[in-house]
């Protein structure tokens, strides 16, 4: 399978379900009555858009005056258009802009959201675009996290700066930035240990990492990316809020969209936080990361 096929199948699979729920609601040109609106609302909730956003989309559909009725395809288009309208302004790929180099990207998130794999995929994308990349194994907490990043770095062929397990992550970030600067690297991607957003001590550590990096390069980190797991529900909103306040995240990446989760919470997140959404992860391989595109996501979300 080519990687494009894999991405496509990943996204389709991830989103076929909402399509299924919408299908059969409207055969032929039926008027959009309360029962059908309820069914749409439920389908949206089941895709993790949350009751508030689902309610709003429902209201907008109700206002849209489909007086002559609407068929299945038309309904999908209408829902997709609503979702796309919310997401379009926030779809922005990561780009390397820093001068002087390196462009520093700090990757944060809760445990198990897919930070390390996402870093590998990002590194792959940047190297393919002919940027030189260096990684920093800043997850000094989890057992074998450093080994995991090193294996990825070997596969992609990029250098990785690492310390001992249990070492000070901020110190390591500082060393890595120094090394990246000396080597004239374009992009430095820093891994961090997973942390739940309600653990104040760990969140303070993130703030410290920022401060330490800024001693060398006041504009760094140029991007602070929060990695969200697509299976996460409404809690993702809490995660964004707290990480935004503490780590000043500048954008989002959503992983594991190749599963049955549809990541609908991104719509709620876009409405509430207006943070850029950079990319989506659709598989375990290093090429399975693609730029986030609102129209595609909206269409895929409703299927068809």
């Amino acid at each position: 399978m080519s990687w494009f096929d894999r991405l496509k199948s990943g996204l389709t699979r991830s989103t076929a379900k909402l399509g299924d729920s919408l299908a059969g609601l409207a055969t032929g040109n039926l008027p959009l009555d309360a029962a059908r609106l309820d069914a749409i609302e439920e389908a949206l909730i089941a895709a993790d858009l949350g009751p508030a956003v689902a309610g709003r989309i429902r209201a907008r559909l109700a206002d849209a005056k489909f007086a002559k009725g609407i068929d299945d395809a038309g309904l999908r288009d209408a829902v997709a258009a609503e979702v796309t309208a919310v997401l379009a302004p926030v779809a922005k790929p990561l780009s390397v802009t820093a001068f002087p180099r390196p462009h520093v990207i700090l990757v944060v998130g809760v445990n198990g959201s897919g930070k390390t794999t996402t870093i590998a995929k990002l590194a792959r994308r940047f190297t393919e675009a002919d940027y030189t990349v260096m990684l920093a194994a800043g997850d000094t907490f989890r057992a074998a996290a450093i080994a995991q990043l090193k294996i990825w770095a070997d596969r992609i062929g990029v250098p990785v700066i690492s310390g001992e397990q249990g070492a000070d992550a901020a110190g390591l970030a500082f060393e890595a930035l120094k090394a990246a600067r000396e080597a004239g690297t374009d992009v430095l991607i820093i891994d961090t240990a997973g942390r739940l957003q309600n653990k104040a001590g760990l969140m303070d550590e993130l703030a410290k990492m920022r401060r330490v990096i800024q001693k060398l390069s006041p504009a760094a980190p140029h991007d602070t990316v929060l990695v969200l797991d697509a299976t996460t529900g409404q809690n993702a909103l809490n995660q964004i809020e707290v990480f935004r306040d503490v780590a000043r995240i500048t954008g989002l990446v959503m992983t594991k969209l190749d599963g049955s989760a549809r990541g609908g919470v991104l719509v709620a997140a876009a409405e509430r936080f207006h943070l850029p959404i950079h990319a989506v992860g659709v598989g375990e391989g290093m090429d399975d990361l693609r730029p986030f595109e609102a129209g595609e996501f909206g269409r895929a979300l409703v299927g068809g």
Binding site: I45, A52, A144, A145, G233, G259, S260, A261
Partner: protein, 471 residues
């Protein structure tokens, strides 16, 4: 966790409680709010629908309309239904079989299987005196086997030696063989994370299950999971014979939707909950206690257990004796502050005490934090022994000295004194009521120990004055 869900339910209930008569419309309106509260807490849509249907039917039926206090009755129906939804009794592991018992862990990527495997191994070794071996069948994620090996070293549990390139089914068979030959009681199989839509990997999981006939197959689920929980649980259940669920990251601020959905969707009990990053942070899951916390009724049993684990028996008896006489001086206050710290700080405690939602919220907003305990302790430590025993001798001059010693202001010192006085007054009142003595001696007898802290908080509410300690 569960706070915002219990807040939301609480406000719905509050409005119902005061009502003299309830029409069907009132009930339906309340149920709509309950529905949204559950959905925002990430409870699966299908579960919510069923739940609301059941409750509405019961509430509109004869039970309520004939009741003298219809509002109260509805609240009770919702409560009962929630407890049912979480499942009745706590259930343990079925591992008392001819050794080795095989426990297989399955789940999505990043749900916390490997960490949970190590936690479970530690729990079985230390609390159940089992000889445990762990084996990682994860050949997909880089360094996953290495991770389990390191964790094994940390918790002092044997791991199956890694043979590079060996496939999962072969590793599983080798693990069972090795466990049998070496006389292990339990062998834990940590499988690779897999997506429920990945046909090949799901088939591989089924093959492992067939080859090793596990006594327990535990589905590890992230408590932060949203609506997808249903798809995941259904898919895994269809492929292997799940025997239970482990919920991880219950220490996050998830609203417990997954906890509420899992039992209903899998029809299997939730057996354990992961409650922290440390390797001993795995607790047996007790549905009734969790239901109590969701409903804002607190978790007194959990509180007492935690107290028992953290507080010295001797200290507790000494305090209980003093309290029985209605005394409460600065040393007692310091003792309480230390106990509270040992028991996981204010936040952990507030969540477990009924009706303490407000205090917990104040903490989350940053108005009160755990440092308050340390600062108060510093103030007390800066007093002489005599001052501690007789706080009434504290003059302005003494207060200035204490403030300097503790590196704080006289105002802060006054707050501590006020708190001690309030507590002492509360103790005296309780003693008059006669409740304190019985309670204190009972606690001491149980070894639960937290007599002072617990009884003080339960009797007099939160030690008065905490709200004055702003950051």
């Amino acid at each position: 966790m569960f706070d915002s869900l219990s807040d939301r339910l609480g406000s719905v209930f509050e409005r119902l409680r005061g009502r003299g008569a309830l029409t069907e419309l009132d009930v339906r309106a309340a149920m709509r709010e309950v529905r949204i509260a559950l959905l925002e807490a990430d409870v699966a849509l299908s579960v919510v629908k069923q739940f609301i249907e059941d409750v509405t039917e019961r509430a509109i039926g004869a039970e309520v309309t004939r009741s003298v206090t219809p509002g109260q009755q509805v609240v009770k129906i919702v409560n009962d239904a929630l407890v049912e939804l979480l499942g009745g009794e706590a259930e343990g592991l079925n591992i008392d079989v001819t050794p080795p018992a095989v426990i297989m862990m399955v789940g999505l990527q990043g749900s916390g299987k490997t960490t949970t495997t190590a936690k479970l191994a530690k729990l079985l070794t230390e609390k159940h005196a089992k000889k445990v071996m762990m084996a990682s069948l994860d050949v997909a994620r880089p360094a996953a086997q290495e991770q389990l090996r390191v964790l094994g070293e940390q918790v002092g549990v044997a791991t199956l030696p890694i043979i590079a390139g060996q496939q999962p089914v072969a590793i599983a068979e080798r693990a069972r063989q090795a466990a049998r030959l070496q006389g292990f009681d339990v062998v834990l199989l940590d499988t690779a994370g897999r997506l429920n839509v990945d046909v090949a990997l799901m088939a591989e999981m089924a093959a492992i299950a067939t080859a090793t006939t596990p006594n327990e197959i535990l589905l590890v689920v992230d408590a932060l999971t949203g609506q997808d929980a249903v798809n995941v649980a259904t898919a895994f259940k269809a492929e292997v014979a799940l025997t239970g669920v482990v919920l991880t990251r219950m220490d996050g601020d998830a609203r417990g939707g997954a906890a509420l959905s899992m039992r209903a969707v899998t029809e299997r009990p939730i057996k354990f909950a992961g409650t922290g990053e440390k390797l001993d942070a795995l607790e047996a899951f007790d549905p009734q206690r969790v239901a109590g916390r969701i409903l804002g009724m607190g978790d007194i049993v959990g509180l007492v257990e935690r107290a028992a684990a953290n507080i010295e028996q001797a200290d507790a008896e000494k305090l209980a004796a003093k309290l029985a006489k209605g005394q409460f001086d600065m040393d007692d206050l310091r003792g309480q502050l230390r106990q509270m710290k040992a028991m996981g700080g204010l936040g952990a405690l507030a969540g477990m005490i009924p009706g303490m939602g407000a205090a917990k919220k104040a903490m989350e907003n940053g108005a009160i934090d755990d440092k308050v305990l340390g600062r108060m302790e510093a103030v007390i430590c800066s007093m002489t022994l005599k001052e501690r025993a007789k706080p009434e001798i504290l003059t302005a001059k003494r207060k200035i000295r204490i403030a300097k010693g503790a590196g704080t202001t006289v105002q802060e010192v006054n707050k501590v004194i006020k708190m001690q006085m309030d507590m002492a007054t509360a103790m005296k009142k309780l003693r008059k009521l006669g409740g304190m003595k019985g309670m204190a001696s009972m606690m001491a007898k149980m070894g639960a120990g937290g007599a002072g802290g617990l009884a003080g908080m339960l009797g007099g509410g939160m030690p008065p004055g905490f709200d004055k300690f702003k950051r």
